[in-house]
Amino acid sequence: MIMARAMTRHRQPEPLAVLPEYPGGPLSGLATTRGKHPHAPVITDIPASPAPPRPAERVAAVEDLHVTFRRNGRDVQALRGVSLEIAQGEILGLVGESGSGKSVLGLTLLGLHPARTTTIDGKLEVCNQSLVAATPEDWRRLRKTHMGAVFQDPMTSLNPTTRLGRQVSEVAGSSAEAIRLLNAVGIPDAERRLSSYPHELSGGLRQRVMLAMAIAGPPRLIIADEPTTALDVTVQAQILQLLRRLRDDLGMAMLFITHDLGVASQVADRIAVLYGGRLMEIGPAGEILEGPAHPYTDGLLRSRLTLTTGRDRPIASLAGEPPDPTQPPSGCPFSLRCAFVWDRCRDEMPAPTVKPQDTTGSHMVACWRTDDLASSGQELAGKWPAAPSAPGLAVLANNVTKAFTVRKGFRTQKLHALRGVSLEIAPGEVVALVGESGSGKSTLLRAMAGLLTIDSGSIEFGMPGHAQMVFQDAGASLTPWLSVSTLLKERLTRADLSSNERADRVRASLATVGLPAEVASAKPRELSGGQRQRVALARAIAMPPPMLLCDEPTSALDVSLAASILNLIGRLRRELSMAVLFVTHDLAVARMVADRVAVMYLGRIVEIGPVDDVVGNPRHPYTRALLASVPDPGAKLTTARGEPASPLDPPDGCAFEPRCERSGDDCCLCDPTLDLVRPSHTGPARLARKVACLHPIAGVPRIPGGLPTDRHEGDD
């Protein structure tokens, strides 16, 4: 009886730190006294490189873990001998591309793998309990008392038909405890939120609710599976800060699964890199990021876009794709893509050993050739040729507005998606539209594609032919039962071509996007995500369009694939002289692909100009907040408060005012117009730098002596 009660997670509500929503002073006196785990250290300050965990402190451990499950009648060998430990109070970042087995490891630790079809071999231990032969009931009890979980998509991870109060209380034990947890994760007005349904909350708030449920107890181990991937970049930065602070206050360990080394660098104490179901490298986060010892980690880091990646040449992307998990190679799984490959790599998988230069013994790598990696220099691709330019305009959008009618309860409301947007794009020019969800960037793109009618304003095209679109989800935008060649030929029906010429065109456009000719007879589902996106591009350019409209074409792809698609778009625009409008939420991507960038907020362009100028010297506080939210290794995240205002009810005055740190009294009264930053702008009018802010950030001050530090004159 006593044992049974002790197993209940909400046995005795423990005092939980109530955190201010945003980072402030030190959280003194908020450390919790935790009756359940008296040995847990309350970590208040994380050293830059923590000491390796001692076995006594470990919360979870796997040793030579093999996980195999059946899918579509084939055995998927998701994990093939992985060994690692998670120490009490530690955040272990688990990094890898899709198919690397990282999510499988997370779900296996939670015991949420499909029990009927999964076989687990090796050692698996959570909270000193061996779990290889555990019954579902053992696992359930463990989850209830000692574990919490946060998943990727907060839109689908909460029960849509149950009030939040009930969903949180279910694990917290009482409404009072639920309110306390919701306060702790920074949900404003928590008591009122208890009666809300999930769809009434923004994505960031929903993820905070997920976190509130995960920390109920509090648990000893949290599995966070891509918890920020579906969020806007500013909200991602907030959640990453919150995760780290919760760990500091509550002292639980965390397995933080992500595909992005930059995100991992922001929260993790140690990083483990997984590939093809095997551990490639593991060690303190700082060491992995500064001195990667495995060619794969090195490749991942180089494919990653930062705000300082050179943009005059293609990105150094990893060629190829991960191996098929139903037929894994017997040697090192990365040998198929590795530039350093030896015969031995193909035959024999190296065991993780301490990195030769490492003195602490905590940085392990599984590679035969790690010494050669250290001595090799970085090979650079050739520079891009200059982009062709032509006179005239590809498209001219003038003061475009669009409002959607939405139903909210008993009333209908107007959702103001575009509130007066003007944009010119020259032939051959690439313009990136950047903004958080709800900024209207996709609506503008769709309006230009003619997929929706605008309410007022005009969109004029300066060249014959139709703009072509490439979507985010390439899988969903290709009809599943048609072959690639049929899909491509659809674009050629109007052209005056014989069937032979059509087949030639299909082959040629596949070759242009770097796909073999055999792909023509394949169905979309037989292709990988990267190949599908290439097919989508091949379809768009089968008849070269004057303009390409891209809606986040890389945000669903792994970093190495995203880099290769961006390189492809960079090449196509130059070869085919296409104008490109590229919608993205990621300023680092925008910077690589575009000549100019337009930052959108709540249906308006708030800043526009040449991309180096805007990224290097942001004038609008919102642009600066977006830049500060990009999770680069080594960069400290600072971010805008809160989340975007509702486009249902745009505030009077500047829409960004409620979140702005620079706002003055006039900001909420006066709606700023998009004005020239430098009144003396010379050259084509469309290239002018403009900002819509009453109190723009000043440019970099001149060095005494008269030489301007930035290359423009007439600054402020």
Binding site: R143, K144, T145, A149, D153, P160, E170, V171, Y197, F410
Partner: protein
């Protein structure tokens, strides 16, 4: 859509369906060889009497005028006079309808309960799910009358557990206020009467319910299996909830939508089956009434029954839409 528009649309749809029914009934009565005047006066009536009756009933007027009279009468709640009973059809219906409503209500309730059990048990791989499914599917595959006769043979004939006919075997059944014998007995405090009425209801209601229950259960199982793969179910499991709580608290409410739609559709079949079942169990409802009216071509009575069944079907489906709206806070019908 706002709720008032929603109700207005539902009512509009109901009116359209009823007008179509009325038109169909009118056409049928004119296509048949039964002369209403003749039927009303009886076989031995003189020719002059029949002619006078035809004039009185307006049967010599142009057909369009007759149709407008017909519709006008309906609108005034005048469903005509039954040839057979010589009572106004409305009066007959008032007498027979409550029995049918009670039977249909309990049958639908039972169908929902059995369907819910079947769906949840088979989606959750509960013990006994296969047996339940076997019994119910074999029950649903038998024709209704066979099932009814088998029931009578076994539970009345051999075992003697259940009565085989009528609504009650006790004297002086309560006559008001709801017309539902079970409810009236409860209101009057006559518990023996209540139990007796329930005993009489059990067999016909089960026979009627089993087909719809299988359909509802199958649809529910399908949507439960889909919902059990959702992310929020994984969340619920990650909280360490018991599988039963996951299924009943998190999955069920998100799965009832399609099952409710199916319930609405099955209500139509259930009302059609009601005619057969009332006949077998001598249940004094409108099915029984209709079965007696059809052989003698009693068109006013048949029209009345059709109209009432149509109205019931429309109302049940409107109710289903409202329930679906209640089940999912996101749906704005």
């Amino acid at each position: 859509m706002n709720p008032l528009t929603f109700i207005a649309r539902r009512l509009g749809a109901a009116v359209v369906i009823l007008v179509i029914l009325v038109a169909a009934m009118f056409t049928l009565s004119h296509l048949s060889h039964t002369d209403p005047a003749h039927a009303y006066l009886g076989a031995g009536a003189s020719k002059s009497a029949v002619a006078a009756e035809r004039a009185k009933l307006g049967l010599n007027l142009p057909i369009t005028t007759q149709f407008f009279h017909y519709v006008g009468n309906f609108l005034h709640g005048n469903l005509g006079v039954s040839y057979r009973t010589r009572n106004p059809v409305t009066q007959d219906l008032a007498e027979y309808l409550p029995a049918t409503m009670e039977l249909a209500f309990y049958a639908l309730l039972l169908a929902l309960l059995l369907g819910l059990m079947l769906g949840v048990a088979s989606a959750g791989h509960w013990r006994g799910a296969r047996i339940l499914k076997f019994v119910m599917v074999s029950g649903a595959s038998a024709p209704l009358f066979l099932l009814a006769l088998l029931g009578i043979l076994i539970f009345y004939g051999h075992l003697g557990w259940l009565p085989a006919s009528g609504r009650t075997s006790m004297p002086n059944p309560p006559t008001g206020p709801t017309g539902f014998l079970t409810l009236d007995a409860l209101l009057a405090g006559r518990f023996n009467m209540l139990i007796n009425a329930l005993e009489h209801l059990l067999m016909p209601a089960t026979v009627l319910a089993i087909g719809p229950a299988v359909s509802i259960g199958r649809v529910l199982r399908g949507s439960l299996v889909t919902v059990l793969r959702e992310d929020y179910i994984r969340t619920a499991r990650s909280k360490g909830l018991r599988e039963r709580a996951v299924l009943l608290r998190h999955a069920l409410r998100n799965s009832v939508g399609p099952a409710l739609s199916m319930t609405g559709l099955q209500a139509g079949l259930l009302l059609a089956g009601d005619v057969v079942v009332e006949q077998v169990f001598a249940w004094p409802g409108i099915g029984y009434y209709a079965a007696q009216s059809i052989p003698v071509g009693d068109f006013p009575a048949i029209s009345g029954v059709t109209l009432v069944l149509g109205l019931g079907y429309v109302l049940i489906n409107a109710l289903v839409d409202i329930l679906q709206r209640l089940a999912d806070p996101r749906v704005r019908i």
